[in-house]
């Protein structure tokens, strides 16, 4: 299982880099590229272009990244709770929370310094690194979650699953332009960085799978190929859902952040498939696991790295912004390579080495 979780962590961090690169890809397509700025290409033409479709498909497929990290963290909590004399209390979770806080603040400050701005709202402050505040909240409620996951795992998952789908249902209505009383308030109260917001299900799922590994994982392994088939089917359906919802929305673009319902099930089956299958040893697997073992540090340094490279390319190689296959691939690689280089640099310098955990977690 540890190998599979490391692989999931590696794929998840790869997908984080893809997600952030596609965001800059969309920005280039709709506002930064020469062709759009000179009017040679209109936004309507962008919406029917192949790079746009490929970018949106990649964004849908990459959606399991943060859920994957939350699942792994939930599984780790189960590890802490599985011992004969183990007790998960606020005191046992406190060291974990203390380690997460310094890197969160350091990289949030770095990001705002690079943007030369200050947070406009609480949402603005927490949103970019929302995985960290989410994780801290789950650690804080861990003493409540563990007994529930032990005694009533199905009930726990149903409750958190319903919470997730419920919040997303209201967001769905909002995305489709429905005007309902209280809808805006409800959406404002359920941001992505709050645990009851948009993805409350994945951490408890990891916790339940971790606590009941012996009964769950062998069953999953038996039906692993069915899980893979369902993952592929749901991936296709989630992409179809996005474009259908966008069409239903009429003239107004539904936007890059629309999630839809089917994507939840795609993510679920993707995670279950990845923890059920042993992928044959290969250099690619080994590389992904290496990424996985350093995923928190990469996650933290990814946003500033991609931003810096996107800005450099905008000024130095504006022609590259027209060729999305180059632009997004370069950004994705930079979003992995620069954090890895920074981590190596801090590790290798004796004066910085003691600060490593404060910077990269």
């Amino acid at each position: 299982m540890s190998n599979r979780l490391l692989f999931l962590s590696g794929l998840a961090i790869l997908m984080i880099s893809v997600q952030h690169a596609t965001a800059y890809g969309l920005q280039a397509m709709f506002s930064w590229s020469n062709s759009i700025q000179t009017g040679a290409v209109t936004p309507d033409e962008v919406f029917t272009s192949l790079p746009y479709y490929v970018t949106m498909i990649l964004r849908q497929l990459a959606a399991f990244a943060v859920p994957g990290f939350l699942f792994i963290s939930g599984y780790f909590l189960a590890f802490m709770a599985r011992g004969k004399n183990s007790k998960v209390t606020f005191q046992t979770m406190l060291p974990r929370i203390k380690i997460l806080l310094p890197p969160f603040f350091i990289w949030t400050i770095i990001r705002f310094a690079m943007l030369r701005s200050i947070p406009a709202s609480v949402e603005d402050f927490f949103q970019p690194y929302h995985f960290i505040p989410l994780l801290i909240q789950f650690y804080l409620i861990a003493p409540l979650l563990v007994p529930l996951a032990r005694k009533h795992p199905v009930l726990l998952l149903l409750a958190f699953g319903a919470m997730q789908l419920g919040v997303q249902y209201f967001r769905y209505l909002d995305d489709l332009g429905m005007q309902l009383t209280g809808l805006s308030a409800l959406i404002a109260e359920t941001p992505r960085w709050l645990f009851f917001g948009q993805q409350p299900f994945w951490f408890p799922l990891g916790l339940v799978v971790g606590l009941h590994t012996q009964s769950i994982v062998p069953r999953l392994v038996k039906m692993r190929w069915a899980l893979v088939a369902m993952t592929v089917l749901l991936a296709i359906l989630s992409v179809v859902e996005y474009f259908v919802a966008d069409r239903l929305n009429g003239e107004i673009w539904i936007g890059p952040s629309f999630s839809g319902f089917i994507r939840n099930f795609y993510i679920l089956f993707m995670i279950l498939a990845l923890i059920s299958i042993d992928i044959a040893a290969s250099p690619v697997k080994s590389f992904i696991q290496t990424l996985g073992s350093q995923s928190l540090g990469i996650y933290l340094a990814n946003i500033p790295s991609i931003y810096a490279v996107a800005l450099l390319m905008y000024h130095l190689t504006p022609w590259a912004l027209e060729i999305q296959v180059i632009y997004q691939v370069v950004l994705t690689i930079a979003g992995l390579a620069i954090p890895l280089l920074l981590m190596r640099m801090v590790r290798s310098l004796n004066s910085l080495r003691p600060s490593y955990r404060y910077i990269f977690g």
Partner: protein
């Protein structure tokens, strides 16, 4: 180097990035925040590769990984039954 020293060196060099700390063989590694989800996965990978043993899912619990001594016991048990 014995098993305990090998593990201690890995934890200090790779997980704590060379921080100047002494790890007591009975010190709680999760309780002190030394081990988190990713470092646990790395530690298991290191143990499996270095000592050529397989850590089963059922063995993944604090009774085997909470302290250096418990990890040494687990590895020694596995090497004995090889």
């Amino acid at each position: 180097m014995n098993i305990e020293q090998t593990l201690e060196q890995f934890i200090i060099n790779e997980l704590l990035m060379g921080q100047n700390v002494d790890i007591d063989p009975n010190q709680s590694l999760t309780g002190s925040g030394i081990i988190d989800s990713l470092s646990l996965l790395r530690l298991i990978g290191f143990i499996e590769e270095t000592f050529s043993v397989q850590v089963e899912d059922t063995e993944l619990n604090p009774d085997n990984f909470e302290t250096l001594n418990l990890m040494v016991e687990l590895i020694e048990g596995k090497l004995t039954h090889k």
